[in-house]
């Protein structure tokens, strides 16, 4: 966890020139190796996208169901408050279904935009949200 005693001798900011060149060499070597590993992992970005897609799908199904539940709950409480038996429950249940579809449509648009971005070659998500559509 903590640094060893040898490390503690030199202050963080102070590096001797030989240390510096050594560090630079290591850094460029690391960059090269990173590049190699990244290029080897390039096909894995497809895998990565698939994983995110599953996440989207689970999110969509839950959002859809919960919108109906929330709408129904609002209707139920309003019904109990106003004493209008099942009218508002049904009304808000239907509105909840619509809200669920709205949720799904929104996530779908986001997902489709991301898939389009990804199929263009570079990985999505590195672009800010503001740039896609509208």
């Amino acid at each position: 966890m903590t640094k060893s005693a040898g490390d503690k001798g030199k202050r963080p900011g102070e590096l001797s020139s030989e240390d510096r060149t050594h560090l630079k060499r290591r850094l460029s070597g690391l960059g090269e190796r990173l590049g190699k590993v990244r290029s080897r992992d390039r096909p894995a970005s497809d895998e990565n996208q698939r994983g995110r897609g599953i996440g989207y799908a689970l999110r969509m199904s839950l959002d859809m169901v919960l919108a109906v539940v929330v709408g129904g709950a609002i209707g139920w409480f309003l019904d109990r408050w106003l004493g209008t038996a099942p009218v508002l429950l049904l009304l808000f249940g239907v509105l909840g279904v619509a809200a669920g579809f709205l949720n799904v449509a929104r996530t779908y648009r986001e997902m489709a935009a991301e898939a389009r971005e990804a199929s263009k070659g570079h990985t999505a998500k590195s672009v800010p949200f503001d740039d896609d559509e509208d």
Binding site: T2, G13, L66, A67, I74, L95, L102, R106, F129
Partner: protein, 256 residues
Amino acid sequence: MASTEHGGEQSGGSMPDPMHQFEIDRIIPINFFGLDASFTNSSKWMLIALLVVAGFLILSMRGRSLVPTRAQSVAELAYEFIANMVRDNVGTEGMKYFPFVFTLFMFILACNMLGMVPYSFTVTSHIIVTFGLAAVVFIGVTVIGFIRHGVGFLKFFVPSGVPAPMLALLVPIELISYLTRPVSLSVRLFANMMAGHTMLKVFGGFVVALGFLGGWAPLAFMVAFTGLEVLVAFLQAYVFAVLTCIYLNDAMHMHH
């Protein structure tokens, strides 16, 4: 809540109750003006999660070396991960809310991961905890929206370019859609954690029930499933943080 009627009596009574792990017991009973504010095992594990996160970040960053040690690079990795997430999803002006998102992520991650330790307690497997976290996000984001845009934030619920009669229908729909957010945020985390831990306990019961000869199959499954659960623990913390960022972005820039 469902703990009493199910569980225990399956398969001839040799199975342990899979819901037992979610029981709350009071360690130090505190009665706060008629409110039960006891220090429970849930509070204990929240405190432990807090100490783990704070201890790890403070200790690992104490060196502040240019070339990070292993622990320091893990801390920096976590920082960069969330900083990039906030920057990508909210933009640079969202970085003032970075401490909040980072705290949220680290806390949920620590709670989920500590829940994977045997004999521990999973704080996030209780809906009231996750709903509390989601409510903080939801109320905070709404307040931010109103502070930034004033009453104009209400336009968030009015879709543009729609004829007036349709609005009577669309505004309630938008409102319900907005109110779904904290519910789905909390239910997702809670359901994932609770289902996973119940499943682990049920299969653990199978191992015991099948004995030395037949118990190996569920044991192998449990090993694989534990790996999956660790992944889920991370993924749920990540999803919670990402959705917080997305909601923040909606409130700050007001478009869907």
